[in-house]
C-alpha cells in the first residue's frame, strides 16, 4: 500500500506522509487484532453438542480499558496533527514570490505580476494551465474561481485547496525537486471536470531565470 503514495517534492509533504504512515500502522494493528480475535472466536466457540454458552452480561473493567485506549490514541493523533495543519493552512510564510491561480470551467488561469510588479492588475501576464516556479522558493498562491467550486490539487506537493467563487484563498508551497508535475482539479466542477488539469513546472534557479526572461520580461514596445 505504501509504495502507492506519489513521490513527495515539497518541504511539508513528509510531515503529512509520516502522519499517514503512523495512522497506517496503528490501524493495521487494530485491524489485525480485531480480525484475528473474530476468526479465533468463531472457530473456538462454534456450536458443539453438550456445550453451553457462557452466561455473561459483560465486564466493566474490560469495557473501560477498550474505551480509554482508543480514546488516548485518538487524542494523541489529533495533537500530532495540529502543528502540521497550522503550518500548511494557517500560517503561510512570508515570501516575495506570488502567483494568482484563477479557476474557471475547465482551466487553471495562472497569472504572474506584470511590469508594475503587482498581482491582480491589468498588466498581469497570464498562462493557461501552466505554472512555472523555481525550486526551493516559497510560492504564495492567491486562489480564486469565477464560476463553480474547483479544487487545486498537486499530488506530488501534497497540496490541495478548494477554490471558491467570491473569495480569495491563500495557499503556499515550496518545491524541492525540479520536474514536471500534474495539477488536476479534484472537485466536481461540471461535464469537463475530468481532464481539467495543468502542469506545474519546477525549474532549477538558472532554468527559471531563463524561462522568466523569455516569458515574464516586459515586451519591447
Amino acid at each position: 500500500m505504501l509504495q502507492w503514495l506519489p513521490e513527495d517534492v515539497s518541504t511539508y509533504g513528509h510531515e503529512i506522509d509520516s502522519l499517514f504512515y503512523l495512522i497506517y500502522y496503528i490501524t493495521a494493528v487494530a485491524f489485525i487484532l480485531v480480525t484475528v480475535l473474530m476468526v479465533v472466536f468463531l472457530i473456538k466457540y462454534r456450536e458443539r453438542p453438550g456445550r453451553r454458552a457462557v452466561y455473561s452480561h459483560g465486564n466493566t473493567t474490560l469495557e473501560i480499558i477498550w474505551t480509554v485506549i482508543p480514546a488516548a490514541i485518538l487524542i494523541v493523533l489529533s495533537f500530532m496533527s495540529v502543528n502540521t495543519w497550522a503550518k500548511i493552512k494557517r500560517n503561510p510564510p512570508a515570501t516575495d514570490f506570488e502567483i494568482k491561480v484563477f479557476a474557471k470551467q475547465f482551466n487553471w488561469d495562472v497569472s504572474y505580476p506584470g511590469p508594475d510588479g503587482k498581482l491582480g492588475t491589468e498588466d498581469d501576464i497570464r498562462f493557461d494551465n501552466d505554472l512555472h516556479v523555481p525550486v526551493n522558493k516559497i510560492v504564495r498562491l492567491h486562489l480564486g474561481a469565477s464560476d463553480v467550486i474547483h479544487s487545486f490539487f498537486i499530488p506530488n506537493l501534497r497540496f490541495k485547496q478548494d477554490v471558491v467563487p467570491g473569495r480569495t484563498i491563500i495557499g503556499w508551497f515550496e518545491a524541492t525537486k525540479p520536474g514536471k508535475y500534474e495539477m488536476p482539479c479534484a472537485e466536481l466542477c461540471g461535464f469537463g471536470h475530468s481532464g481539467m488539469k495543468g502542469w506545474l513546472h519546477v525549474h532549477s534557479v538558472e532554468d527559471y531565470k531563463k524561462w522568466a526572461d523569455e516569458h515574464l520580461a516586459p515586451k519591447p514596445q
Binding site: 456450536e47 477498550w66 499530488p155
Partner: protein, 581 residues
C-alpha cells in the same frame, strides 16, 4: 400471505379489509414495512445498475456498455457514456442508494415492521400517518425516477449538490433534472419526518407492560435514536434544498456570490444534515447486528448499557463533526482543527461497539446461520470503514486524500457495508414477514460471493486513493499519474460486476421463498424478542393478548431454564420477574 382471516378473528373491531385496504392503502405497520421493502429492493436494482455502468466506463473508458445501445443520444452514443451522463450516473447512484434503498429498507421497512412487534404494541401510534409516509415516499421516488426522462437528463452535480455548480443550470447543463432532484428530496424529507414522529411516539408511549427502556432490544434502541436524528436533521436539509430551489428558479442568491451569496453556506447546511444522516443510515445496521450476534452466539449481548449509551453518544456527537467534510473547502482552518478533535472523539463509541461485539462472540455457542454470516460481514466491513476514517480525521492527511478514491473506499465500507446488515435483517425476519423460510444454501452462496467481491471492489480503492486518484473523474486515463494504476480499476470493475451478478442468488431466493419457501415454525431462530411471541402470521393488531415483559431481550443460556433461550414474555415465576435485566 393472508393475515385476513386471523386478523378478523382476533380483532373484531378491524373491519374485513378489501384487497385495496389490505395490500395497497394499508394502515397495518407490517404491510407498510413490506411495501417499503419492495420499494427499496426495486430501487436497489436501479442504483446497482448505475454503479455497474460507471465501473464499466472507469475500466474501459469510452467503450460501449453492453446492452445499453438503446439509450438515445445525447445521453449515450450507441452504448458509450459521455462525461455529463457519467456525472449523472454517480449523482443518481448515490442519491438512490442513500435515500431510496438504505433509508426505506433499514429505517422504513425494519422500523415499521419491528418497532410495534418488538415492544409489544398492536400497531404504530399513528397508523394513517404511517400509511401516508409510505405513499409520500413513493411519490418522491417516482419524481426522482422521472428526472431520468426530462430533457437534459437527471441531476449531475453530485449527491452532495455543491453550490454553485448545482445552483445554476448553465454550470451542469441540467435544468429540470436538478429541479426534480431537489423537489424529490423535499418530498422524501416529508415522508421521513412522518415516519420519525411515528417511531418516537410509538416507542415512548406504546411499550408493553414491563418493557422499560433498558429492556428494549438494541434494534429498537437504534431505530429510536435514528428517528430522533431524522426529526432534527431533515429540516436543515429541507431548508437548504428550498434555498437552492429558489436560487435556481426564483432568482435569489443564497449560494451565488454574484448576488452576495455564499457557496460554503450550502456545504455547512448540507453536512449539518449530512453527517447525522450517515448515522441515520448506520445506527439501525448496528442495532440489527447486535441482535443477530447475541441470538446466534446464544449469549447475552456484551455490555448492553454501553451499547445503548454509545448509540446515544454517537447521536450527540454527530451534530458537531460536520466540518470534517470541509477541511480543504476554504473554511477557516482553525475550524478544521476543532472539527478534527470532535471527529476523533466520535470514533470512540464506534470502537466500544466493535469490541463489545467481539465480547459477545467470546464464550458463545456460535451458530453460523445466514443472517449471522451477514451480521459478521457487517462488523468486518465496519471495522475497515471505521479505521480508514481515522486517516481523513487527521486534517493534514486529509489534505492529500480528500476527494480521492480513499474517501470512496471509506464511505462504501461504512455505507455500502450496511447492505450486509440489511441482508442479515431480511434473511432473519423473512419468516416473520412472509411466513416462510429462505433457502439456506442459496443464502450461504450469496454471502460468500457478496463478501469476497464486495472487498474485491472496494478494498483496492484505498490503493488508488493513496496514489492520488481523484473521485468523480470520468476517464482516469486522461491523467499521466493515474494511468500506471489502471490495472486496479479493471480489477475493481470485474469485482463489482461479479458482486452485482451475485445478487441474482438473493433475488431468486427471495422471490422463490416468497411463494414456495418452506413454511416456518413459530420461532425459527429460538430468539427471545417479542416479535417471535406474536402469532405467525401476525394479525392486524399483532398480539392476541398484550404481552407482559419480564426481562431483557438477551437472556440466552440463562441458568434459570433448561433451553438456551428465554423469551422476554415468558413467565417462569415471580423471582425471575422481579430481577429483570
Amino acid at each position: 400471505m393472508s393475515d385476513t382471516a386471523e386478523a378478523h378473528a382476533a380483532h373484531g373491531h378491524h373491519a374485513t379489509p378489501s384487497f385495496i385496504s389490505h395490500y395497497i392503502f394499508s394502515t397495518d405497520h407490517k404491510m407498510i414495512g413490506r411495501q417499503f421493502l419492495f420499494l427499496g429492493l426495486f430501487m436497489m436494482m436501479i442504483g446497482g445498475t448505475l454503479a455497474m455502468m460507471m465501473r464499466w466506463q472507469l475500466a474501459w473508458p469510452e467503450t460501449a456498455v453492453p446492452g445499453f445501445s438503446f439509450i438515445p443520444e445525447p445521453y449515450m452514443y450507441s452504448g458509450i457514456i459521455p462525461s455529463n451522463t457519467y456525472n449523472a450516473l454517480f449523482t443518481m447512484h448515490a442519491t438512490i442508494m442513500i435515500f431510496f434503498v438504505v433509508m426505506p429498507i433499514m429505517v422504513g421497512t425494519f422500523g415499521n415492521f419491528l418497532i410495534p412487534l418488538m415492544i409489544g404494541a398492536g400497531d404504530m401510534a399513528f397508523p394513517k400517518l404511517n400509511m401516508l409516509s409510505f405513499w409520500v415516499g413513493l411519490v418522491s421516488g417516482v419524481v426522482m425516477l422521472a428526472s431520468f426522462f426530462v430533457p437534459g437528463g437527471p441531476a449531475a452535480g453530485g449527491w452532495t449538490g455543491y453550490a454553485t455548480l448545482s445552483a445554476k443550470a448553465q454550470y451542469t447543463g441540467v435544468e429540470w433534472g436538478q429541479h426534480l432532484w431537489i423537489i424529490s428530496l423535499l418530498i422524501a424529507g416529508v415522508s421521513s419526518l412522518m415516519g420519525a414522529i411515528n417511531y418516537i411516539t410509538t416507542i415512548i408511549n406504546m411499550r408493553a407492560p414491563g418493557m422499560s427502556y433498558f429492556r428494549m432490544p438494541l434494534t429498537v434502541w437504534s431505530l429510536f435514536v435514528t428517528a430522533i436524528l431524522l426529526l432534527l436533521a431533515l429540516p436543515v436539509l429541507t431548508a437548504a434544498l428550498a434555498m437552492l430551489l429558489f436560487d435556481r428558479m426564483a432568482g435569489t442568491s443564497f449560494f451565488l456570490p454574484e448576488g452576495g451569496g455564499e457557496p460554503l453556506l450550502w456545504q455547512h447546511m448540507f453536512w449539518f444534515f449530512g453527517h447525522p444522516e450517515v448515522y441515520i443510515l448506520v445506527l439501525p445496521a448496528m442495532g440489527v447486528t447486535s441482535d443477530m450476534l447475541s441470538t446466534f452466539s446464544r449469549k447475552p449481548i456484551f455490555g448492553y448499557h454501553a451499547m445503548a449509551f454509545s448509540m446515544i453518544a454517537i447521536a450527540f456527537l454527530s451534530w458537531i463533526v460536520w466540518g470534517h467534510h470541509m477541511f480543504v473547502s476554504g473554511m477557516n482552518p482553525l475550524l478544521g482543527t476543532a472539527f478534527m478533535m470532535t471527529t476523533m472523539v466520535i470514533a470512540v463509541p464506534s470502537a466500544i461497539k466493535t469490541f463489545n461485539w467481539l465480547g459477545t462472540l467470546w464464550g458463545g455457542s456460535i451458530r453460523l446461520t445466514v443472517p449471522m454470516l451477514f451480521a459478521l460481514g457487517f462488523v468486518s466491513n465496519f471495522v475497515i470503514g471505521g479505521l480508514s476514517g481515522i486517516f481523513m480525521a487527521s486534517t493534514p492527511v486529509d489534505i492529500f486524500i480528500h476527494d480521492t478514491y480513499f474517501i470512496v473506499a471509506h464511505f462504501h465500507y461504512v455505507v455500502a457495508g450496511i447492505i450486509f446488515a440489511l441482508f442479515a435483517a431480511v434473511y432473519y425476519w423473512f419468516p416473520k414477514m412472509f411466513y416462510r423460510r429462505m433457502n439456506d444454501s442459496l443464502g450461504k452462496i450469496h454471502f460468500v460471493l457478496t463478501y469476497i467481491f464486495f472487498n474485491g471492489a472496494f478494498f483496492p480503492m484505498h490503493f488508488l486513493g493513496v496514489g492520488g486518484h481523484m473521485r468523480r473523474i470520468y476517464n482516469p486515463l486522461q491523467y499521466e499519474f493515474i494511468t500506471p494504476m489502471h490495472d486496479w480499476n479493471v480489477f475493481i470493475t470485474w469485482s463489482a460486476l461479479i458482486l452485482g451478478a451475485s445478487q441474482i442468488f438473493f433475488l431468486y431466493n427471495f422471490v422463490y421463498s416468497l411463494f414456495a419457501g418452506k413454511k416456518t415454525e413459530q420461532n425459527p431462530w429460538q430468539a427471545n424478542t417479542l416479535e417471535w411471541s406474536a402469532p405467525t402470521p401476525a394479525p392486524h393488531g399483532n398480539f392476541l393478548t398484550t404481552p407482559t415483559v419480564y426481562r431483557g431481550p438477551y437472556e440466552y443460556s440463562s441458568p434459570e431454564v433448561k433451553e438456551d433461550w428465554l423469551p422476554q414474555d415468558k413467565n417462569i415465576g415471580t423471582q425471575a420477574a422481579a430481577r429483570g435485566h
